[in-house]
């Protein structure tokens, strides 16, 4: 299969089950909402060493946020609900609460909830108060509506929702862009990232959405769980069992975490199509032979 003269390899991306939460971070203006979101999703590229994977899903207009201020939607993924709870506590507590003018709301309706605001409220040292925001006419006592915690801070008040919904999600959707040189490969990757921004329910957790140091799950060193993806490193192509075709001198990877299979498929589809520009030789995908991940995203099936 070829798109714009670029070969689409008959390969599949291997992805894993994860748990995800969505935060809606609002602030006095878009700039401060974005600052909070960027800090919250910082050092969250890979669960291997960061504890979670996170990214900015998109901006939320003020008429869609609970407090009518400009917002940013953030998705955070972890391997289980316990790890996700730990990461939400740390990131909302240290990155959102500390950021001027922000508030933090749940953005995921789910029966499974983590009581993040309920735990963070103790920062108020006894002066925290809650408000049960009515949402409809059917609620009976505290069973309906959204409970918000008001935590007094030096600037005024930090408002955080008591519970955050979490759901099953998928991490590790990916594709590899194999190019003639680093300039064209980066250009293709940037076009892919730009195109994928419009897809809801996914984030690209790596810097700028792009990975240059893809990994494999083995290493010659016993103390290391992962090491560089030798098969795709051009500088050692003749020293290893290389997967690089002739003419390829640079590989960049796009990793996608999503709330469901369909959104990852859609993100891969638009991303690959955007990446197929002159100077790109092949699009491939990273997998572990199908033995580790529960989800397989076949490139030709997605683009077919």
């Amino acid at each position: 299969m070829y798109i714009n003269g670029v070969e689409i390899e008959d390969a599949f991306a291997e992805a894993f089950k994860m748990r995800a939460a969505r935060l809606i971070i609002t602030a006095v203006n878009p700039r401060w909402a974005l600052i909070a979101a960027q800090v919250t999703t910082g050092f969250a590229t890979s669960v291997i060493a960061c504890g979670c994977e996170a990214g900015i899903e998109g901006t939320v207009p003020r008429d869609e946020t609970p407090d009518g201020r400009p917002g940013v939607s953030v998705l955070i993924f972890a391997m289980g609900s316990k790890q996700l709870e730990d990461q939400l506590m740390r990131r909302i507590g240290q990155c959102v609460m500390t950021c001027a003018t922000t508030a933090c709301f749940n953005g995921l309706e789910s029966d499974e909830k983590l009581k993040i605001g309920k735990a963070l409220r103790y920062f108020g040292d006894g002066f925290q108060t809650s408000k049960l925001l009515p949402s409809g006419i059917t609620e009976d006592r505290g069973k309906g509506g959204r409970r918000l915690w008001r935590i007094p801070v030096m600037e005024g008040e930090f408002l955080v929702e008591e519970s955050f919904g979490i759901q099953r999600a998928i991490g590790g959707g990916n594709f590899l862009i194999l190019g003639e040189n680093s300039t064209l490969t980066l250009e293709a990757a940037e076009k892919a990232v730009e195109a994928m921004k419009v897809v809801k329910g996914v984030v690209l957790p790596f810097p700028g959405g792009i990975v240059r140091s893809g990994s494999k799950t083995t290493s010659k060193y016993k103390f290391l769980r992962a090491s560089t993806n030798t098969a795709y490193c051009p500088t050692i192509r003749n020293q290893t069992d290389s997967a690089l075709p002739e003419g390829v001198n640079c590989v960049l990877e796009i990793v996608i975490d999503g709330l469901d299979e369909e959104s990852i498929r859609e993100a891969m589809r638009v991303g690959i199509q955007a990446a197929c520009i002159p100077g790109i030789v092949r699009i491939s995908a990273g997998n572990y032979g199908g033995t580790l991940g529960q989800y397989h995203f076949h490139l030709r099936e997605i683009l077919g």
Binding site: D67, G68, T129, S135, G142, G156, E157
Partner: protein, 287 residues
Amino acid sequence: MGCISCAGFVIAMSETDAVTLRLKEPTTIPIEADSICPDLFVGRSQAGIESLPAFYGRRKVTLGDLFTVEGENSDQVIVEGALRYVKKIGQRMTRGRVVVRGDVGLHLGAYMRGGEIVVEGNAGDWAGAHMQGGRIWIRGNAGHLLGAAYRGEKRGMNGGVIIVEGNAGREVGALMRRGLIVVLGDVDEFAGVRMITGSIFVSGRLGARAGAGMKRGTIVAFADHAELLPTFRYDCRFQPTFLRCYLLQLHAWGMSIDDDRLEGFYRRYHGDLTTLGKGEILIYDQR
């Protein structure tokens, strides 16, 4: 000075599916009609609804003796006639909708847990007393002790929402424990007296002695207010983010919200210092 107002709230109810009750004759003798409750009308025929009990003064009668009934088996209820002396409509209801066409008597929606009551006129005292959920929307004025606790009880309204487009009397939200009361007009003295927590918003004039004895909770004066009790202390002037969430929810329900109140600053006073002192009165202080 208006700040929150009703912008065309629409009652979306199909009259053909509703059970309609018309009071046969105007009376000044109190009628206790806690059987006018959507929960009791579901699964009942017209004859079954007519046979539900009511009190006419001290005399035990049936709804059919006092009202003409049209319709059956519905949780949508319309009540018409001179209802000023009809008490306890919608008491303990958990679902459906009751529309009262005109004024209504005491104890409207007391102990209510869900559903909605809309009064197109004025409501008597104790509307929403001990309410636990649902919504009461009064298009006219409300009497005294709106959403309050009955005498001797430890807590009053414990959830739900009451909206009054006109004025309300004394002791609005007395011993309120949870929920939201919004009065677009004025409230008389002792609003939020001995309030435990919850929220009271007043768009007109907040009467004297507001929040007397309150432990927690929030009273917001969007416009004019009487002098606060000396047991409330000034804290700061700030923009409460949580208030924006409430105002936007009210806007979603069809109320018009003044941008100045949404974006504006509020003076915060905490009290009542004769008790726990963790309550607050927020007073709008310009944008």
